[in-house]
Symmetry: C2
Subunit: 466 residues, 2 copies
């Protein structure tokens, strides 16, 4: 327990917010102090504000601005880059409790939600209204729309339907010294001024706290999907299949890759018998209706075969297909059971997926480290997961070297250090390698302009990584 | 001719750029001084730079930054808000000559172009590579990609396929004192830092000069469209049909409205015989293949009929359908023949299109002025065009009052002052009514942060409108 008498900010927070909203006991604040990026450092918060509404956020930000106390927002804490990690002495603002769906409007193709609404909950509610919110990060059963907006989250269907930013029409945010602003719009189109709404999406809490989100919906229920399964002997062969799909002009509604490490980890946990079948599993889907969809499926099978699939087929069993996709979703938690994961999120041009996969294998060998691969392969977004035995410091050093090499390789191939997870703390060095000093400077200029007291999630994203 | 000896900036420009690039004679600079917003004021430029490449832009911006001379970029000058209009003493940078298509890459679904490439030229070149660049502003035969990016231009198919920003992956820009930066990416996804690329799209030249654009393409050729034609007695009835389409869940690939003023103007010019048939024409299209597309067409016809169409039918004659869409494209120039047009660009929620059309008719009556309506009705984007007889000052005053009323009505209905044309000079007052003072302040903060010398298109968009 922090002693109030020593801390004017805490005294003012207590005056502004009721006890049930403000947590200061380290036993209760601890679980809010970090996200799921196991390698990212985190500090000790001064307090946690469990906001019930925008007013609580305003009250907290006012106090923090006055006392120059860092403010770190967080949703469900499922991030993988340390973006929501506590800075020493900060006030963490948890938005989990602000979880109301305020409006679902199929006619205007939009929904208005509080930031703490869980992604799957929004998607389920939209279905009941005959509408679809596409962005589907693997964390969708737990992650919140606010967190998705903060990181501009991607997901499985994004290869065809785009990422979170493509679905954010407008938002409410608490900025500056605690002013509430509305950015963006409710109309289908609008060009009134700078795209400040889009600027806030993916800004990882460094510009203010998002307290309401207006998302775009697609009308109608999602069309049923056909699934194509491919088994491959090698990562590179599976990568060739991905490049072939890109060259074919088919845009699948999913194209996911799981390597032997993932398959084995899922088997060890859930006993699905996947690893006996394949070294590398590629899962393609098409949701295009009618004959056109049939042709897409045929093309996917052909691309898989021509790239050297040891087996490939259209799945005729919907349950089996769904089980394979839940294996995809389970791969990350299954691997987490083996030891701390250092998670990459590089994204490269589609044609260079085989090349990048070969480089990842080479990095694993070179640094004598185990790297599992999950990938949204269809958009070139690879998640090499570097696994270290718990407590092995030398393995951690080797893992870090492999991580850095993979980032350098991705940039060399014209790719990016982060396709969908965000920079947070883990990828700051990569960001500085990817962007020119002038562009990093533009980030600081915008940050200083919109957050003159420097309280919003300081040090994250483009902060000094050294 | 400006006298060099009096002007240090001009002297330095002459030293930095060859004669064929730098125009200073008012006879030759005049045609560059304004866009097609007939009501927007424009000043006298110091010079025009006809840039041949990024280096010319850098050279010009360096001189301008040093001497604090305003820089105004322009493409083809087809803008409708005065965004490209000369500020007194400015250097206009014309990017028309930078019209090379640098890369069309169907596999990575992208193209790289110089800003002066004409929209239709890019679309034609993509077709040859079996790919599609969707954004199709009515100005597509003349307007440039750079101008489209600056205004975040919309178009006819945007109701289904989105606007320019949705297709800009990356860009090169000259910023600050003449530094060249690359923003955005070439990969399918990427969240490395702030979305500075998206911030530049629609910023109307106020943050820097865009010198290269990487756009996203859709794979394959565009599917053939089916056309549904509806005739209506009244604007409001046509608006009801638009609202019914939105409620039906069908997303048409076009839904365009032309009123009697437009039809008559096109007839007077091109003798197409449209105005004898209908008071208001609604044109819907579906490009969904197969049976699903047939159903969409049936739904459109039903929506038209239930809203009270005097006649409606699926067009069985492709040539006839194309002729109707070229009437849509000709409407603006046809109306321009009648007198100076004051062009609105309001966008309202889809369900409120009938309400907004009724308010536009009321404004026309109230202010005794003639208002023609063209609309991208499917996304609620209406273009009331206020026509004034040349030289009638009182009519101009009444037109301005009608313009202001329509803007106020759109904002009252939860809409925006500009759906796709940009703010430029004409809609600055509307912008200040639409956005809160704090949000306007954030615009100034960002502008000051990224353009500390204040040279880039000063006074436009959020400048003081009084």
């Amino acid at each position: 327990m922090v002693d109030d008498s020593d801390n004017a900010a805490l005294r003012d927070l207590r005056a502004a917010l009721p006890d049930e909203v403000l947590l200061t006991d380290p036993d209760s604040t601890g679980r809010f102090s970090h996200d799921e990026a196991e390698w990212a450092p985190y500090g000790k918060p001064l307090a946690v504000v469990r906001a019930r509404g925008t007013d609580d956020v305003v009250a907290a930000v006012r106090v923090c601005a006055e006392h120059r106390v860092p403010v770190v927002p967080r949703g469900a804490g499922t991030g993988l880059s340390g973006g929501a990690n506590a800075v020493d002495g900060c006030v963490l603002i948890s938005l989990e409790g602000m979880n109301e769906i305020l409006e679902i409007n199929p006619r205007e193709q939009l929904a208005v939600v509080q930031p703490g609404v869980v992604n799957d909950d929004l998607r389920a509610a939209c279905r009941e209204h005959g509408a679809w919110y596409p962005p589907d990060p693997a964390s969708s059963p737990w992650s919140t729309i606010g967190g998705n907006v903060s990181t501009n989250a991607g997901g499985v269907c994004c290869v065809k339907y785009g990422v979170t930013r493509d679905y954010v029409l407008g938002l409410e945010a608490v900025v500056g010294d605690g002013e509430v602003v509305r950015l963006g719009r409710r109309t289908a189109k609008g060009v009134a001024g700078y795209d400040l709404c889009g600027l806030f999406v993916g800004s990882e809490g460094t510009l203010g706290i998002v307290t309401e989100v207006t998302v775009k919906l697609l009308p109608g229920l999602r069309a049923p999907e056909r699934t194509v399964v491919g088994y491959f002997d090698s990562l590179v062969a599976a990568g060739e299949a991905v490049a072939a799909v890109a060259a074919s002009g088919v845009v699948p509604s999913a194209l996911e890759l799981l390597d032997q490490h993932c398959l084995r980890a899922v088997d060890d946990w859930k006993n699905m018998g996947l690893s006996a079948e394949a070294n590398v599993l590629l899962l393609g889907r098409s949701d295009t209706p009618g004959q056109a969809g049939e042709q897409e499926v045929d093309t996917l099978v052909r691309c898989f075969d021509e790239a050297g699939a040891t087996w490939s087929a259209r799945s005729t069993d919907e349950q089996e297909a769904d089980a394979l996709f839940s294996a995809r979703r389970l791969a990350y938690p299954a691997l987490e059971r083996l030891g701390p994961l250092l998670t990459e999120d590089v994204c490269v041009p589609r044609a260079l997926v085989p090349d990048m996969l070969a480089r990842i294998e080479a990095a694993a060998q070179r640094h004598d480290t185990q790297i599992a691969n999950i990938a949204h392969a269809g958009d070139g977004n690879l998640h090499p997961l570097i696994i270290t035995p718990p407590g092995d410091d030398d393995a951690r050093l080797r893992a870090q070297r492999a991580f850095d090499d993979i980032v350098a390789d991705a940039i060399e191939l014209g790719g990016t250090v982060t396709g969908e997870h965000g920079v947070g703390l883990l990828k700051r060095k990569g960001l500085h390698a990817e962007l020119s000093p002038k562009v990093i400077g533009m980030h600081h200029d915008i940050k200083n302009a919109l957050d003159p007291t420097g309280i919003f999630n300081p040090g994250k994203v483009f902060g000094d990584p050294s």
